[in-house]
Structure formats: structure tokens, C-alpha cells
Amino acid sequence: MDTFDNEMRLTFQAKSCNEALARMTVAAFLTPLNPTLEELADTKTAVSEAVTNAIIHGYGEAGGTVELWCARKGNEVQFSVKDTGSGIADIAAAMEPMYTSKPELERSGMGFSFMEAFTDELVVESAVGEGTLVRMKKVIG
């Protein structure tokens, strides 16, 4: 098992008001690394996208629990967002820029593109009916 300099786990209801909570939590977790404003904004955006996906696509009206995990070792930060919702049938399609399964909700289809652009590594694991785990890494500094 990896030994981290620090690690945290936050679980919250899949409610949109918790998107800001997740962003603020990850920002606070990064603070000891003295991130630049850009690094902070990048990380907050990536987490916000993943949490929003879990709430809208993972659970929708049904609701559920979202788990945010963050760990750091040196200047590398890992974070993940997990839901046990509906899962993604076609991950490659979901990750296409501008693709959205919910155009009626005015989703821009840029979520995964932003996660990819704003982090150094993005891995998406998903199974229909079981849920989705989005893992990201970012080097600070």
C-alpha cells in the first residue's frame, strides 16, 4: 500500500450544493503545497466536473452518495471521485469532447475534456449498474 504524506476522504449526498463543498475541500487539501492560482483553479475545475458527473449522470433523480478521496506524496496529488450509480456504458463516447447524454439539461459535453486538460493523468473505470470511479493525478509546482 502506498504511504502518503496526507490523505483524506469525504462522502456527501449527491446534491448540487455539495459541488462547491468538494471544490473547497480539495483546494484546502492542496494548500500546504503552495499551489499557484492556476494549479488551484485547474484542480478545482477537474474535481467539480467529476462530482457534477456523479450527481447528474451517476445518480440523477435517484440520489445517492459521492465519495471524494485525495492523497498527496511529495508534490504529486492524487484524487478520485466515486459513485455507485448507473455507470457509463461507453466510456470512450462519454469522453468525446462535446458529447453529452443529457443535452436537455444544457450539458456542454466538456466535462471529461476539462478533467483531461487540467490534470496530468485521468483514468475512468465504470460498470453499468455498479457506478463510476474517476481517478486523477496532478503534480503541483
Binding site: 448540487s16 450544493c17 459541488e19 462547491a20 471544490r23 492560482l37 492556476e38 483553479a41 478545482k44 475545475t45 467539480s48 466536473e49 457534477t52 450527481i55 447528474i56 439539461l105 444544457e106 450539458r107 456542454s108 459535453g109 466538456m110 466535462g111 475534456s113 476539462f114 486538460a117
Partner: protein, 121 residues
């Protein structure tokens, strides 16, 4: 906290954002903006981001959605007060291709008399 304040000034619906523009706030902004567009004479929309430090792809959705609302009746969408973080999202997403950026709200209201005084729809 309210996500935004709204004002119809001449033919412009001004949306002064007061919080991060994420999925949570996007829903209320969309509903309030569309209600005002339906019952006012506003033709154009100006998003004022002054003081807003965060926007994600949900914000892109709400701006593109409003653009689609006004474009067919000749309206335009403008933004002002865009800070560094929000500006990056605008640039990366290509949103500046459809929205005009203004230095301030006053500049956004300067347009040819024919346009601003036409009865509109």
C-alpha cells in the same frame, strides 16, 4: 446566497453573477434568465462576472443555452468582468467565438441607435 442579480436595462438582460457558476448555480440562473427573457423586451444578454472566481463546464452550458435563446431573434450575448480563471475556461472552450467581451457594463450598452431603439419582437 443568491446565484445572481438580474436587471433589464433597455433591451439588455444583465445577469450579475454573485457566486461560482457551476451546475448548482447554473440551474437557477437558467430558470431566472429564461423567465425574464419571456416576459421582458430584452433582446440581448450580458453576463457580468465581476467578483466571480470559478466557472466550470456547467457555466459553458448555461451561456450556450442563453445564446441559443436570443440568437434567432437577432440578439447577442456579451460578458464583462471576466477574471483570470473564468477567462481560461472561456478561451479553452472556444466560447469567445460566440460571445463578445466588454471592458465594462457601460461599454456593452453602446450600440447603434437603430439597433437599440428598434421595437424588436
Amino acid at each position: 446566497m443568491q446565484a445572481a442579480e438580474y436587471e433589464v436595462k433597455n433591451d439588455v438582460l444583465v445577469i450579475r453573477l454573485k457566486a461560482d457558476l457551476d451546475h448548482h448555480t447554473a440551474v437557477s440562473v437558467r430558470e431566472a434568465a429564461d423567465a425574464l427573457l419571456a416576459r421582458s423586451h430584452a433582446k440581448h444578454i450580458l453576463f457580468d462576472f465581476t467578483g466571480v472566481e470559478f466557472m466550470d463546464s456547467s457555466g459553458i452550458g448555461v451561456i450556450m443555452g442563453r445564446y441559443r435563446q436570443v440568437i434567432f431573434s437577432g440578439g447577442r450575448v456579451g460578458v464583462t468582468g471576466v477574471g483570470t480563471s473564468v477567462d481560461r475556461i472561456f478561451r479553452i472552450s472556444g466560447l469567445y467565438k460566440i460571445v463578445e467581451q466588454y471592458k465594462n457594463a457601460e461599454e456593452a450598452f453602446i450600440r447603434p441607435a437603430s439597433e437599440c431603439c428598434a421595437g424588436g419582437n
